[in-house]
Symmetry: D2
Subunit: 243 residues, 4 copies
């Protein structure tokens, strides 16, 4: 079983009726619901309201894949918690950052860049194109899929060149965006996926759910261990031991 | 001085009045004209009609950057000539492949993949977005530029992941395309640039010309030498010599 | 079951007693033997002596992973066969190229470079270091493993930058080499693995066998299909169809 | 003129006679001395002892390339200063991190990983091999060069896959190390170069000096500007403006 923790700042849903109507049990609730139906996945959720943001060493140690959604409250996540997440990813925990989590501390601290992007909220339609049709994360998706309306994200997106670019979005207003970006950092895999603005029912779109489910399975670690900085003895016929 | 050779199959311009009207001296002529105005560039041209396609060892040895345009006559370029181009690139010669030259032999033989792509000819407008604003090839270009009409190219584009993706195109019909792709192979640099269908006056667009001029300077080699397969002696205090 | 075909030029074993003593049933036989013991793998072999080099469309269509060993007879493999292998890889078939197969036609045609390297045969010992400890191909391998003697391969190795560098070799004579290189091309995965000179019993080394077994499972395709060059209709509410 | 600032924690030289004997004016002094002889470079230095570590917004704004050496006092550099360096690099400032600066805050914060590595201090000799002979940073270097003694650094080195791997080190004790690693982050270039332990006169080695001089010229920005997160208006015929 893949143990998934869905983290959501859970602010918009409590302060904006429009968002609450779309996601009555929170964005985390919507994601947990469709993931929970998978036979190989067990889900729990955590939010900013939980003690320690719901992120402790114990939670991370028992999480195979962490999904993160945040937007207006990135700064309310203490640095120590963001560092714990970063270190768990370097050990092997998978991380999926959704939409405005491009600016979340765990994502920025792992990638090192500003992760800035260009944006506009004008109900543009978006067509997401599959760049790598044989990648496990895009399995089950046709050549493209459509979102009736999304927040427009545009280039430049200040990220390191992705290890693999899986999806590019085309917005009806004319922008493009690297909408599916895969990274390997330490022993961990990180997937950034652009759809999911709070004011649209994007997380109910079948293709969005398929990609998130595929991504959970892909970033699920086969190996989890801190890669330390060992002081080693010289190699002999008996081996090279850590001092 | 950067010595540029512009190669064009030069077929459409002689058989299609519409194309001839746009490019009366051929696509190669149009490219040579704006490059020839640069103080640090000298240009000559070559076409399929020339003996050996205009590509001999002597021509390649005295070419710093080769620009290639082809479409319906890729198969008329003999393999031996394509291999000579490939080997010159591996030694360090720069190569710029324009538009339908994605299917040219030199490009395919250097990248190894089919370089297939999806396409449609419906006069879509295209907006080309700069992904890497600080790259020498995109200097002088704003966040984006527009082409009133171009042939639509779509993903998947069966290429190796570019070493650097510089531009993405957004077509009014809804497609996206990796329109500016940079590769390093051996000692040489290769730039693929998507605009330039024969039935549109794309090579007169200032931003297209700027990008091609920038690319000439960027892929111009600082070093040119075959990297052979030397049989070497064991390293001693005097060095490691090729046998 | 993963259907593996082990291809070997099978020349040294028939002409050099030293090699025949080490690999009495050929290098292909030795590889097939340890792979054949795996429950999820079925193996067959093919050599240069077979009709069509043992590589037909039918063979490739029923091969999930092709392993290739060649050295002195690369040129005896007809181009048409090498192209068939290349195209099968682009469709998704996995390819593992061993040792001197760096110069084989399928490898060179897929990577596009000369794949030249520096070499010396002086019985250097080699220590192979794991660069990516969490990669499926290096699972079960400690920080390093040793080969008592191997042909020395040295840099520069004229290959495209690997998508992932998994192993680096250290030779007692002082050289280094990128000994485990992973590529994705089209829908296929390609793994190059340096050990395996014909005059040493390298393919009996447990770690070498582990890595080859791991690699078979890793490059085994989850998807196999030619990515063509479709002419598509404009996207409508009903979709975008291939014409 | 390229404006270089050489930063050194400057601790060993003041506390260890052996180091002081090798670098009487500090490691920063030794580096500044050979760089200062170049006609296109002006150098200044800064150390931990300076107010604000010698790193202010004004210093960074007037620095094209920052060279960093640190070892035992990484933690004494305040986070705010490390963030200023990171942000200057993302704007375009070049950064060269030497030897144990793999663990410096600017390097770690820009790359996002632990940058841990394996190490041993046993006076191993090192041979550094050029992987990319045509790269501007390795110009003027033969196939390899030797250091009589260096601290041994070993894999795994927990870094993101370098955008370009330029050098690999072979240690007489058997280790290998990715000794020259190039990254692009935001508008900036980062070069990590392994040689330079405080107890060896490595910075007097001609090839080490050549590589550092080459690297200064290569990471020197052609462009420097923060890439922000602009809120843009919809594209019209007049353009797309930042709100």
């Amino acid at each position: 079983m893949i143990r998934v923790t869905v983290w959501n700042e859970y602010v918009h849903e409590k302060t904006d009726k429009n968002v609450a109507d779309i996601y009555p049990s929170g964005i985390h609730g919507a994601i947990a619901e469709f993931l929970g139906k998978e036979e190989d996945i067990v889900v729990r959720t955590a939010t900013l309201d939980d003690e320690n943001c719901g992120i402790t060493k114990e939670v991370l140690d028992s999480t195979d894949v962490l999904i993160w959604w945040g937007h207006v409250a990135h700064h309310k996540v203490p640095d120590e918690i963001a560092y714990m997440v970063r270190d768990a990813v370097l050990e092997g925990m998978g991380l999926i950052c959704l939409h405005s989590a491009h600016h979340s501390k765990p994502f920025r601290y792992l990638l090192g860049t500003s992760c800035n992007l260009t944006w506009r909220e004008t109900n543009d339609g978006e067509i997401l194109w599959v760049i790598e049709p044989s990648h496990p994360i895009t399995r089950g998706i046709d050549r493209y899929f459509k979102l009736p309306a999304e927040e427009t994200y545009g280039e430049p997106f200040v990220i390191p060149t992705p290890d693999k670019l899986l999806l590019i979005g085309n917005y009806s207003g004319g922008e493009v965006f690297r909408s599916g970006c895969l990274y390997e950092r330490g022993n961990g895999k990180i997937f950034y996926f652009q759809p999911g603005h709070e004011s649209y029912p994007t997380f109910y779109v079948p293709e969005v759910q398929t990609i998130i489910k595929n991504a959970v399975r892909f970033v699920n670690p086969i190996y989890r261990e801190e890669i330390g900085c060992p002081h080693v003895r010289k190699i002999t016929d008996e081996g090279s031991y850590v001092i």
